[in-house]
Symmetry: C2
Subunit: 399 residues, 2 copies
């Protein structure tokens, strides 16, 4: 269910304004009423923010009960002090909630290189602990930066006759080109599942979701996906290879995919959502590489901004992607709610009606289908156009 957040059993939420940002909410808390299994994936950037380094330690325990988030400051490139601040924040909220210190994940997003204002963080932590309730929206709002809307997704699935809910919230906008992880994303569920099974599920899931989106080609220092599964639905433990596992995995992947697509739809300055679908590639890996190269190309993105059926740039981006394919076999179609138009068949350009193409490309959501006719490798990537507003937003983000 895109854009909706159903509350899994046993969680509470808070989102407040602690003063890290001028006016908007800037601190969030998600708490499970009992110890939960954890899983997480983090940025592959060599420059990892302090909360990411801290969380990599917490993840080793395989269990957690709370996620503390701040926006407005990434606590990245802040050295030893940044790590101390992350640990101190976790300890403070653990004390307020009376849970173990090592049961808290911390996440930060915002400007790089400025130490956290710990006075405001401490005040925020106290306020969060006393504001916990059933409404996830204030938390979903508090994790945003230049996002224009909250990103929410929920799926319900029946396991052992019990209704299990998987829900997630995310923030995206800029510096979005995940590699093994993504922007901040928090998934909670009342399913019962072990740490290893959950971690494996997440690792597979992000390959087809968060690793297949790009806003600007920049992999952030803070990308994190954190998952809690508290078992409060009362379902039996979901074991790998079981029918329950397959059902849970499908629902889990759906939540990841919906959040990933919401992130690019709300990409910085984006006016158009682009789906790049590659079929017939020699392998799944090649299909992924081809699809990612197209949605990452500045020239392709600028062409979509202009609703220009510039398929040459698409083929060119596939060409430099590093994947092997034969350009002389490729079919290319543009598809939207206004119809479908084929512009290239077997590598040969087809004459097409420019007005018809324009009408298709002027839609808010446009898909490109590239059939390589070489094998059965398939992948889908999602991106957005490159607009004046992207340049405007990022030309002076700090001020």
């Amino acid at each position: 269910m895109e854009g909706r957040f159903l509350n899994p059993v046993g969680y509470s939420y808070a989102g407040i304004h602690a003063g890290l940002k001028k006016r908007k909410k800037d601190m969030a808390l998600i708490v499970s009423d009992r110890m939960a299994t954890s899983a997480a994936a983090f940025t592959t950037n060599v420059v990892k923010a302090a909360p990411v380094i801290y969380d990599m330690g917490i993840l080793k325990g395989g269990k957690a009960q709370a996620i503390l988030v701040n926006s407005g400051n990434a606590n990245a490139c802040t050295g030893t002090r940044g790590l101390e601040d992350a640990g101190h924040s976790a300890a403070l909220i653990a004390h307020e909630l009376d849970i173990p210190e090592d049961a808290v994940f911390v996440s930060s997003t915002g400007v790089i290189g400025v130490p956290l204002d710990m006075e405001r963080i401490e005040g925020g932590i106290k306020e969060l602990a006393t504001s916990l309730g059933d409404d996830p929206i204030p938390a979903a709002e508090a994790i945003l930066t230049t996002d224009t809307k909250t990103k929410l997704a929920s799926v319900e699935v029946e396991i052992d006759g019990k209704s299990v809910t998987i829900s997630g919230m995310a923030k995206g906008s800029g510096m979005i080109h995940p590699n093994m992880a993504t922007m901040l994303c928090f998934i909670i569920t009342d399913a019962t599942i072990g740490h290893e099974a959950l971690q494996k599920l997440l690792g597979k899931g992000i390959c087809d979701s968060f690793n297949m989106i790009s806003v600007d080609g920049d992999t952030s220092t803070n990308d994190s996906v954190i998952v809690l599964a508290n078992g409060a639905s009362g379902c039996g433990e979901i074991e790998e290879g079981s029918t329950a596992y397959a059902a849970f995995a499908a629902a889990f992947d759906q939540v990841l995919g919906e959040l990933a697509r919401q992130i690019v739809k709300d990409g910085e300055g984006a006016s158009r959502f682009i789906e790049m679908r590659v079929t017939g590639a020699s392998s799944k890996a090649d299909a992924r590489t081809l699809a990612r190269a197209v949605i990452s190309s500045s020239l392709v993105k600028a062409a979509f901004f202009g609703a220009d059926a510039n398929w040459g740039r698409i083929l060119c981006a596939m060409g430099y992607s590093g994947a092997s394919f034969n350009p002389d076999l490729v079919d290319l179609d543009f598809i939207s709610a206004k119809g479908k138009i084929r512009v290239l068949e077997g590598g040969v350009p087809l004459p097409f009606d420019e007005d018809e193409a324009k009408a298709i490309l002027l839609e808010k959501e446009v898909a490109v289908l590239a059939d390589c006719h070489q094998g059965d490798g398939e992948a889908v990537a999602w991106g957005c156009d490159l607009t004046y507003d992207y340049v405007k937003i990022n030309g002076d983000y700090r001020s």
Copy 2:
């Protein structure tokens, strides 16, 4: 000598309007009065334009006498017909000039996927052949697309007591992210040198020049650097390992570097030239990777457009580059004609005067120096900022 083109002995030039573009010159010809040694480097894109495929065959001969160029149409993604058109053009000009057919390189740049208008090409070829003269400027103008100025460079060097001239012209603007080759670039010299030595020199030379620039991260289907050396200076053959070779190589590299920098300075929509200098990296390869990642980052480029001292994005781009380095050791400086400011030392952010930083960054040419303090790997990459005009130019290039 940047921006100047000294005529090596034995070459003539022509540049005319054949009607491929509306008003501007669109066909160029460079001819040597005797057979010359050739060398060339081409795009690594899997999707190679017809003239690139044709020229790869011509290069095998190691000799050539003419370079025929058209702008306005890339002759890319044009299938069998495109290859025939390339060969037919070469045959026609060879006939007009009374030189062997396999002594002609052909180059094209412009829109992708539209067959060449051979009627206009044929007319243009006849006109070119009768327009040859001493002035290289019409040819340098005719190879441009969205470039706003010609790119020229010349260096003179004494070999065996003879004055040898190396001169080059290039076109760039968009789709600039070369990999083993670049946009169109033609280098001519009156030096005497064998094919293998010249080819090796070119292969090395582009690593530190055309492979270290980026305008938009897109590697074109048509990138070509073609070199002719006709021996007309009367110098003895330049053998690898000799003092003469070292002198020639230094001059040759200077021409390549100057043309590469002129290309990014005139990058599509660029308002600012960025030099990224990495020192102290573990290896030369790491230094290259780090420098290229920074000048390729959309976020870094947008920050430079806003003259924003956003060093966090620079460190972030280094972090996801794939090169190994320790962020906790890095020093970062911004440098321009207005001064130098250190913003990061040993991975720790330094407080700095925002007004002073702004003054430095508002200059047209800005350098960033990153010292990794890990080894002696060094590299320099050149790029430009990401501006509204880039989006405007590329949002509707075809029309």
